[in-house]
Symmetry: C2
Subunit: 342 residues, 2 copies
């Protein structure tokens, strides 16, 4: 396999750190590796694949000789550096929401719409974490019968706010145990022993940006603008795995048996659904691995749909792993056709 020059932007963040791990685990064919971050991290040393790397401050000159940039910085920073990198011929896999709705930017979950990678013009967007986790099982059901409606309520981990989110839950846990006052910085409110029905900022229709990502990104990834979607996104005191409670309605009824049969063979999914032994997906079990766990699969008692529950690691399949899988698609596509730059 052809080796490529890879850069990671935001390498000191929770997703950047995990991208490094995933590249190593999946033996991604890295030729040169460049670790980029903001000025304050410049000079830090990181061991990757038994070699020492030094973190560099990102500048407009950081992208020479880079083939693929895995960008794990917020939208504002992505909007600065992505165009510079694209201008230099780099393919950017962007973890932020900056370009997700651009018509010429494919939004890709490799198990679902890998072919969309081919249409890129320099940028490929990595979808929202909850959307990736929810769509992995839903896209399979969509194969049995077209989805008409999705109703979701999420249970999102502190990791969605990055390292500072996880650190805040850890710190509040310790401060509570030591009867200290709880400090609130990463979230709008205390997260320990609480749930917060707000993830990201509110939009004009009363939904949060996070809830609207589930709506708009699901439609784009499934190539169906007619799916009706409603979501309530809630932060819960869990470290790094998101859960979603969903009802899905399809054009024709899908039986529980058919759904389970298909999901049991689907890539990236593990059915965890043995209620007689009180076994079902839980964030505690789905953390630090790549599969989306699906369970509590049952007929929706209020309509003709299916009711299901899934959990997945927000930092891995919800971000880092999905981004590296997109990079793998680029490399294999570039190997298949030597005319096409990755």
């Amino acid at each position: 396999m052809k080796k490529v020059n890879v850069a990671i932007l935001g390498v000191m963040g929770s997703v950047g750190t995990e991208i490094l791990k995933v590249l190593e685990e999946r033996k991604f064919p890295v030729d040169n590796l460049k670790l980029l971050a903001s000025k304050k991290y410049a000079g830090r040393e990181i061991i990757w694949n038994s070699l020492k790397y030094v973190v560099e401050e990102v500048t407009k000159d950081s992208f020479d000789d880079v083939d693929i940039l895995l960008s794990a910085v917020p939208s504002e920073a992505s909007k600065i550096y992505t165009p510079i990198a694209v201008e230099k011929g780099v393919v950017v896999i962007d973890n932020s929401s900056a370009y997700r709705y651009d018509e010429n930017v494919p939004l890709v979950i490799p198990e679902i719409n890998p072919e969309d990678v081919e249409t890129h013009e320099g940028i490929i967007a990595n979808p929202n974490c909850s959307t990736i986790i929810a769509l992995l099982p839903l896209s399979e059901i969509n194969k049995l019968s077209l989805i008409k409606r999705i109703i979701a309520s999420t249970y999102q981990a502190a990791s969605g706010a990055g390292n500072k989110g996880m650190e805040e839950l850890e710190r509040q846990t310790k401060d509570y145990a030591n009867e200290k006052e709880l400090e609130v910085k990463a979230f709008h409110h205390q997260i320990l022993h609480n749930v917060i029905p707000q993830v990201d900022n509110f939009t004009e229709n009363g939904y949060t940006k996070e809830e609207m990502k589930m709506v708009n990104e699901s439609r784009k990834i499934l190539h169906n603008k007619n799916i009706n979607i409603s979501c309530t996104s809630v932060r819960v005191p869990v470290l790094r795995s998101h859960s979603v409670s969903m009802i899905v309605e399809t054009e024709d009824d899908v039986s529980v048996e058919k759904a389970k049969e298909l999901l049991s063979k689907s890539k990236g999914i593990k059915i965890v659904d043995d209620i007689e032994r009180n076994i079902y997906p839980m964030p505690k079990d789905s953390s630090n691995q790549d599969l989306v766990f699906v369970g509590r699969i049952r007929k929706d008692l209020s309509g003709n749909g299916l009711n299901l529950w899934c959990c997945g690691d927000q930092i891995r399949k919800g971000a880092a792993t999905n981004a590296v899988q997109i990079a793998e698609l680029l490399v294999s596509s570039s190997n298949e056709s030597s005319d096409r730059s990755c």
Copy 2:
């Protein structure tokens, strides 16, 4: 107001303890008070309203001279003592699910169906905690247009498993902070930093008993067997307030404005919905008080219904306060008509 002889069965449990508090706070007209519990608690002293009471072991002879029994024991124990008390002419307000579906047992939320109290034949059932919290706002929307469908996902506190549930979350919090192994006893799985998509046991249709309570009890309380209801009940690491994410569909569309206008005047409800200032109901804020907080009120983007989020204290409005309110209805009805025993 006529004073009545009150007994509390299960007075050492989380709900029993709270019933005592609520009786005092609401100045319930208690003549004699009898505190009943299992043998192991007999002889314990409790101060109530500045007087000392001694907990007695419950026996078949415990109910002489009792007018109202507030029973806060599990179904198995209720099935033993409720018939004995009724036989002696006591009116039993039962917090368990033992009699909730009996045709001659009214299931009452005083703000919603107070008139049903009149039909009792000795037993009045106190509804399931999540159902009380969800129905308080839903019953108001039902006044604007008949509810056709309810889709709910719950975020239920540890208190639903009683004192041992709350103690387990507290203990796991401290053990985690002290890097000790977490002991799992009250729940099927670790509750700290986790969510568990199971509350109560599973039934044959793949739903839990807790989920089916929301279905069957909502229909009984709203006197409408045709409402389609689907629920996913999830335990979250919160101490004592339940939250519910809901979509409600009605025969005619109900606007957000109309719903807010009515809810703002409704008994037992507080609208907490100022998203511009990141204010919405949270279990941290709705604990240790009686109102159900309602917010995130918005049009369901996937259909014609409303999407809303509510939180309420599981031990208070979800159990103890509702039971005492039922007792108040009995006393006031008995005062209105001296022919009718309370």
